[in-house]
């Protein structure tokens, strides 16, 4: 599994799981499907971006920082559109980005630069 596919898969799974936890918030339960779909799409976008970064840059520290940043930015946009819940959305979002950033640097085949 290459780093982009790994990032995509991990982002999708964690994003979906992240969305499903909204079921435990009574006021959000009615919109659970939309939240899960939105959260999954957010996870996929973050995963692909982080996967592409991991393919280009081979650094665990930079991968984690980039993952965290992407997760936080996307989560911020979601929270901004919802006009609230910044902490509840951005903390897990950042965490998901961090995990995907770590995983894509640590696992998946390292691509060698092409020679002329």
């Amino acid at each position: 599994m290459n780093k982009i596919v790994l990032g995509l898969a991990l982002g999708a799974v964690l994003g979906a799981f992240d969305g499903m936890t909204a079921w435990f918030t009574p006021e959000a339960r009615a919109e659970i499907v939309g939240i899960v779909v939105g959260s999954t799409v957010k996870g996929i976008i973050a995963g692909v971006l982080i996967g592409v970064f991991a393919r280009k840059v081979h650094s665990l520290a930079l991968g984690i920082v980039f993952g965290l940043a992407v997760g936080l930015i996307l989560a911020f946009l979601v929270a901004y559109l919802q006009h609230g819940y910044y902490f509840q959305i951005m903390l897990p979002g950042g965490m998901v980005g961090l995990i995907v950033g770590y995983a894509t640097q640590k696992y998946g085949p390292v691509t060698q630069p092409r020679r002329a």
Binding site: L14, P92, M95, L98, I99, K106
Partner: protein, 331 residues
């Protein structure tokens, strides 16, 4: 008549041992080591201006065909060009009738000295490097038959050299049938090697396989696999093999299984090549399961956890945080 003191006798004996290098291009520098069949001297090659190790027999007409054995060692080494096998430069007979063999002078440490400061992974990587030249030799049909820590030197730049091929013999190549040309090419040399017949035991106790200790004629390259297992045991426990159950108490179970498989009494139960043994060591080093050991479910979980400790910790933190959010939302 006045008797000579022990000191004078020792000096005279040392003087008698001195090889007569007249007519050769070597200058004697100093004594390096001695063994049952001869001694090793540091010498200077006056033509090439380099230091070499001269292995010289003690007697001009030794028993047990030692001169033939020394020449066969030189021929075997000449046929095994590998960075992990000490190269031979010259061989012949000195003016005093003693056979000699001129080899590369290796400055470094013995295996026992070198491993004192190494950690477990480095020790395993070192054994992999010892196995490389053996695998090379086996593929060409040669068996060392005297592998032990004393016969492994670590050079000043970390190079690993397998020494003392004096008991080596030509066996059956470990290569597949399609690649047996090399072994076939060296078969004529086998005729010149001194025979080691039934009941004649050559090797070092503790490091030699049971079949070799019995004096079996038909020992094959798997006798070296046993010795590799014995060296691995020594490297991990610091104890000589034969004490494996007592000394291996601190050894991780997969490692103990690798040692036991390599040192199995039945050659068929051992690793069938040095490469197979090093592959299992590589698996152990990377946290993968080893072929010699069937782990329980709990051990498997522990190994996977150890392999992915950070990832497991990150996911655990995430799940804990999620749980905390759920609990807070319910209040």
């Amino acid at each position: 008549m006045k008797s000579l003191s022990h000191r004078v006798v020792a000096r005279l004996q040392a003087g008698m041992q001195l090889p007569d290098l007249n007519g050769t291009r070597y200058n004697l520098l100093r004594y390096l080591a001695g063994g049952g069949m001869g001694s090793v001297w540091l010498a200077e090659d006056t033509l090439l201006k380099r230091r070499v190790a001269l292995k010289v027999l003690d007697l001009a007409a030794p028993a047990d065909d030692l001169d033939v054995r020394l020449l066969s060692e030189a021929r075997i080494l000449a046929g095994l060009e590998h960075p992990g096998i000490v190269p031979v430069h010259d061989a012949g007979t000195l003016a005093d009738g003693r056979a000699f063999c001129c080899m590369k002078y290796v400055e470094g440490q013995t295996l026992a000295q070198h491993i004192a400061t190494l950690k477990l992974p480095d020790r395993l990587r070192l054994l992999q490097r010892i196995a490389e030249p053996l695998d090379f030799a086996h593929a060409r049909g040669f068996i060392h038959r005297d592998l032990k820590p004393d016969n492994v030197m670590i050079g000043a730049f970390g190079e690993v050299l397998v020494m003392d091929w004096g008991l080596a013999k030509v066996g059956v190549s470990s290569l597949e049938a399609g690649e047996t040309e090399i072994a076939t090419a060296v078969q004529p040399m086998q005729n010149s090697l001194p025979a080691t017949g039934q009941g004649r035991v050559l090797g070092t106790r503790g490091y030699m396989s049971p079949e070799q200790a019995r004096g079996d004629i038909e020992v094959d390259y798997r006798t070296d696999i046993f010795s590799l297992g014995a060296i691995l045991t020594f490297m991990l426990t610091g104890s000589a093999p034969g004490e494996l159950p007592a000394a291996s108490g601190r050894m991780p179970r997969p490692m103990r299984a690798i040692c036991e498989k390599a040192m199995a009494a039945d050659p068929n139960a051992r690793y069938q090549s040095a490469a197979e043994l090093t592959a299992d060591l590589a698996h152990y080093l990377t946290g993968a399961p080893v072929s010699a050991y069937s782990e329980s479910l709990l051990e498997r979980a522990g190994r996977i956890y150890a392999q992915h400790r950070t990832a497991v910790a990150l996911v655990s933190v995430y799940l804990f945080m999620r749980l905390l959010f759920i609990l807070l939302a319910r209040r």
